[in-house]
């Protein structure tokens, strides 16, 4: 019997900037078909980890396997199978929404007509059809996230890597994006997302890992976090060691 490889398997991953380890011996397994939430306070190493998974930053040491394929090594094959919702600076501000989505489709080798047709459908699905002629540079933050997610879907990837996909998105947009993501997981895709919004993670994800100072401090199925008396927020604050009370300055 052949064992199905996990969507993401990371072993002893380290990334050192100057003499500081941003990611320090990270071990992580993301099962296929899961909706995985990767949480952590600011500067914990979330973005560095996702940048390494996307192939944007080479690890200092350790191994990464995505969909059973090593990164780096077979990264071209890996890239074909993943959809990215990167941070906003990766978008092309002088393109319109449909143009950007079509561009991404063509980068995944979709025929031009197919890419254009899918771009049109995705623009409608993400309710961006009112801003078809607007350049991405003129979009609001929430609209930029929507267009990034729409582009990530165009080649029907098996794995989604999403960096703060709900940041700046309004309630209507967030509901729309959540519904689309849930549908993708039902169809067998895996989603790995970083987020600060614990409510969203609690509602959507079936697996969670919390990173702090470059190391995983806790991980498990969402049910394990729900079973106790603590909320996810309480657990988060406790495991990252942020329970202390800070004194406000007198003038504040």
């Amino acid at each position: 019997m052949t064992e199905i490889s996990p969507a993401i398997a990371v072993r002893d991953l380290r990334k050192v900037y100057a003499s500081k380890a941003a990611v320090d011996g990270l071990n992580l397994t993301v099962p296929r078909g899961s909706f995985f939430g990767f949480l952590g306070p600011n500067g914990a190493g979330k973005t560095t980890t996702i940048r390494m998974l996307m192939g944007l930053a080479p690890p200092t040491s350790g191994t990464i396997e995505i969909l059973g394929l090593p990164m780096p090594g077979r990264e071209d094959e890996v890239k074909e199978k993943i959809g990215l919702v990167p941070d906003e600076s990766m978008l092309f501000d002088h393109l319109t929404g449909p143009e950007f989505i079509e561009f991404v489709g063509r980068m995944y080798r979709l025929p031009r007509e197919v890419a254009r047709e899918r771009a049109r459908e995705l623009i409608a699905l993400f309710e961006l059809d009112g801003s078809q002629r607007k350049m991405i540079g003129d979009y609001s933050k929430g609209m930029r996230k929507r267009v990034a997610m729409a582009a990530a879907l165009i080649h029907r990837p098996q794995l989604f890597l999403m960096d703060e996909p709900f940041e700046g998105v309004d309630a209507v947009g967030a509901r729309l994006m959540k519904d689309i993501l849930i549908a993708q997981v039902r169809q067998g895709a895996t989603i790995f997302l970083t987020s600060h919004v614990l409510e969203v993670v609690e509602r959507l994800c079936d697996h969670i890992a919390i990173i702090n100072e470059g190391k995983i401090v806790t991980e498990g199925a969402i049910d394990e976090f729900r079973s106790g008396t603590e909320s996810l927020e309480d657990t988060f604050v406790r495991v990252v060691g942020a329970e202390r009370m800070t004194e406000s300055p007198d003038w504040l």
């Binding site: 900037y17 100057a18 990167p86 501000d93 002088h94 393109l95 980068m107 025929p111």
Partner: protein
């Protein structure tokens, strides 16, 4: 052509098409200068073609390799001197997609044409001329195309190598130190080595080892096989160099290179002590703005590169012109310090005069919403620019003193006064241009994306206008044979400059108020797949 390359080209074209209508009318100067620049080069290319079509083969045997040498020099060195290496792929945005690296490399090589389109025109002129020359076999001129490939590959390799090296802390400073030493080399040689040995060295016939010799001879159909081997070997070496550097750039992590050291000194630096003096000299919020501006610029890789180029490459570029001839007391050598300082000002203009909000990008919103007058912001930016211009002038003077180049207190005073006068007029025009044509600039991006030649032409045009008042001062010195006359005219120029500055400030503020929404919107944008 592979579909992904087409997609990248398409996205860049759409980006430009979407962007250009908004900037229409503001770029008239750039368009005018570009058109004149390329028209002049086209004329030179046609002239070269006409000359080459009729020149005797023996003369061409000496002429063509020298021409190709100058061409390579222009193609490879001018972009470095002007800190303007043409367009390049934004690899950060393209690496996540499954595009084979060989395709990205192919686009990058083609983009190197943007560094020296002028040289492509010249090669085309030479090629056409040689095709009409009856003494040259018909197949031979076409081999010049290999020489174009050689230059393209070399340009990719050099650009990628420099971009990576200059992004690394400490290595960058070391490189600049090496540059300064290089600047000193000719002077050290001239002073320490016997002139006869130097003459022998420069008169030495280097044979066919250099690529321009091989390419020149091959294009004339002489020494076929050795020249072919020469050209192929050099082109292969340049290809491997380019491929290796491009591969390293693909794997390069800029965040890692720019990461601050973990252990940072808790001692107050000299610069910080200087900043603490600012509130004593200037009132807040002006002091705070100047403080912010100086710190921001000093931390920007783009600015640092330009600033360091002023007193490193700036010294090299003018050395041969100043001291290359037999007369050590020529007009140029006695004004060497002023020339280098003005070159430094010219380079700094791009990062702190012509587009003052360029590095601020979306932060410009704060200037409009904070309870600070926009005139205060502009004055703060101009004070910071003057600070760096004067710092550059003093460093250049110090390096000249160290290298035993002609240096006297009078020369220093002259260079500072001339630079200050020109800077005043430049700041006045710069404030207006910054409001009329603001462009977002990535402070982390070391190289400018326009052609170095075009930048040079544009700056020459502006400087020709701005140097007129200084020219008057020199004319006064010449006419009256008196330094007093020179400084009196310069003092008058400074007075006029101050009036022009305030008039221009009013105009800039009007534009800033009128175009508020446009300025904020344009500055907060990123770009297409090309940088």
């Amino acid at each position: 052509m592979p579909a992904q390359i087409l997609a990248i080209i398409w996205a860049q074209w759409r980006s430009m098409r979407n962007y250009l209508p908004r900037s229409r009318g503001n770029n008239w100067l750039s368009i005018l200068v570009s058109a004149s620049w390329y028209a002049a080069w086209s004329f030179a290319a046609v002239s070269t073609g006409l000359v080459f079509a009729q020149t005797d083969g023996k003369l061409l045997y000496h002429l063509l390799p020298s021409g190709l040498f100058l061409l390579t020099l222009y193609w490879q060195i001018i972009p470095i001197l002007m800190v303007s290496a043409g367009m390049s792929l934004d690899l950060r945005k393209l690496v996540p997609y499954p595009v084979p690296h060989s395709q990205l490399f192919a686009i990058e090589v083609l983009l190197r044409i943007t560094t020296a389109g002028e040289m492509l025109l010249m090669i085309c002129g030479a090629l056409a001329g040689l095709l009409f020359n009856r003494t040259v076999p018909a197949w031979a001129p076409w081999t010049l195309l290999i020489y174009i490939a050689f230059n393209l590959f070399l340009s990719v390799g050099l650009r990628d190598l420099l971009a990576r090296v200059l992004a690394r802390k400490r290595v960058r400073e070391l490189l600049i130190f090496v540059m300064v030493l290089l600047a000193a080399l000719p002077q050290i040689l001239l002073r320490s080595v016997d002139s006869r040995s130097l003459n022998r060295f420069f008169a030495y016939e280097p044979g066919r080892i250099w690529p321009w010799m091989g390419a020149g001879h091959l294009a004339l159909g002489t020494n076929d096989i050795p020249s072919l081997i020469n050209v192929v070997c050099w082109t292969a070496a340049a290809y491997l160099f380019a491929k290796m550097q491009f591969g390293k750039n693909l794997r390069f992590d800029t965040s890692e290179a720019a990461a601050p050291d973990r252990i940072q000194s808790t001692r107050v630096s000299l610069l910080d002590r200087g900043f603490r003096l600012l509130p004593a000299i200037l009132p807040d919020p002006l002091a705070a703005l100047v403080d912010k501006e100086i710190r921001m610029l000093a931390r920007s890789p783009r600015f640092r590169l330009v600033f360091l180029m002023g007193f490193s490459f700036g010294l090299i570029i003018w050395l041969p012109m100043a001291f290359g001839n037999k007369n050590p007391n020529s007009v140029f050598s006695s004004h060497y310090l002023t020339a280098v300082t003005v070159y430094g000002l010219m380079l700094l203009g791009e990062v702190c005069i012509w587009n003052v909000f360029g590095f601020d990008r979306s932060a410009v919103q704060i200037y409009y919403s904070a309870p600070v007058k926009l005139s205060t912001v502009l004055i703060a930016k101009n004070i910071a620019a003057l600070f760096f211009v004067m710092a550059e002038a003093l460093i250049i003077a110090f390096v000249c003193f160290l290298l035993r180049l002609p240096f006297t207190a009078a020369m220093l005073l002259e260079s500072i006064m001339v630079t200050l006068t020109m800077a005043l007029f430049l700041l006045a025009i710069g404030n207006m241009m910054s409001m009329k044509n603001p462009r977002p600039v990535d402070p982390g991006q070391s190289w400018r994306k326009t052609s170095a030649g075009k930048v040079q032409a544009m700056l020459l045009f502006i400087y020709a206008v701005v140097s007129a008042p200084v020219g008057l001062a020199y004319a006064a010195r010449y006419a009256f044979e008196s330094d007093i006359a020179f400084y009196a005219v310069l003092a008058f120029d400074i007075g006029v400059g101050i009036v022009v500055y305030w008039v221009a400030m009013d105009s800039a503020l009007d534009t800033a108020r009128f175009r508020k929404e446009d300025i904020v919107s344009v500055l907060s944008r990123g770009e297409g797949p090309l940088l």
